[in-house]
């Protein structure tokens, strides 16, 4: 894949082909949504985008009834989700960083899905056209969103932890 026209959902026909998404929908989300600019926009006004033929938007304050982060039970070491995200609906606590001219939200967009977090982050959208095969010999296109988060975080019960999390 040297450019976007080679990607399964851009330009080329996928007729007669099978699409396999290792993990991701956001890959599909971002490939199918119109470019939007997330940087510093007023959150009282939702950003509307196209997602798989449906109008969706980024989350605003009106999408959150609690007005605060979800709190886990005492002893929970689970990381807390980022407060914002995309509204399908429901709200999914994830963004789609990447070049706007490829349909993503922009380079200055939060890649982490964990809040109260500090550490190493990597994100990538590796894919391929017919680069997967099942046990019956069927060929699949690959669309993924792969991320990893490694560092310290404040868990949902307010305690401090370290850990490594794969975004799948």
């Amino acid at each position: 894949m040297s450019d976007r026209t080679d990607f399964p959902f851009w330009g080329r026909s996928v007729l007669g082909q099978i699409v396999f998404s290792l993990c991701f929908v956001l890959g599909i989300v971002s490939l199918m949504m119109a470019p939007l600019s997330g940087a510093g926009q007023k959150l009282e006004q939702a950003q509307t985008i196209q997602f798989q033929g449906h109008q969706v938007s980024t989350a605003t304050k009106a999408d959150f009834g609690r007005g605060e982060l979800w709190k886990g039970p005492p002893g929970s070491t689970e990381p807390a989700p980022i407060p914002g995200g995309l509204v399908l609906p429901p709200v999914i606590h994830v963004y789609a960083p990447g070049p706007v001219n490829q349909g993503f939200q922009g380079l200055d967009i939060e890649p982490s899905v964990i809040t109260n977090y500090r550490g190493f982050t990597a994100i990538g959208y590796p894919g391929g056209f017919g680069t997967a095969t099942d046990g019956s010999g069927n060929s699949y296109d690959v669309v993924t969103d792969m991320r990893v988060f490694h560092g310290e975080y404040v868990s949902t019960d307010g305690t401090h932890h370290r850990g490594t999390f794969a975004f799948i």
Binding site: F20, G128, T131
Partner: protein, 134 residues
Amino acid sequence: MQLHDFNGGIQPSGLFWIVQVPDDALKIEGLTAKLHVVNAPVIDDFQFFAPGGVPATVSYDITWTASGDVQHFRPQSSDPLDPTNFAAEFRSAVATISFTGTEAGFTVKGTGTSDGIFAEMGTERNGFFLRNQP
């Protein structure tokens, strides 16, 4: 068109599609990061947010190779709902993956690259660590 969508599921908290892995699954050396995941429990949703997902596992090796200058990102809003409300030092990268996905009656193997699409890696902070960073 058949779609298999392996993902880590969504927790009651809203935590989206992540699975904890051993710390030594990730090796960071210079401008390269390698993640080795074995039999991570996931679900195959078949379609985005569609009911009827089935249990599955995925194993994969992914390598990020960074290049270029460090890009510094700073919050452009103090609103925690803003997607720019984080700070980071990232380099552009290329990610390559090889994977196997397995569920009852179905196994798939494949590869992929982010070349020409998007990848980045580096360090970041948000939330508490953003507010309390000098």
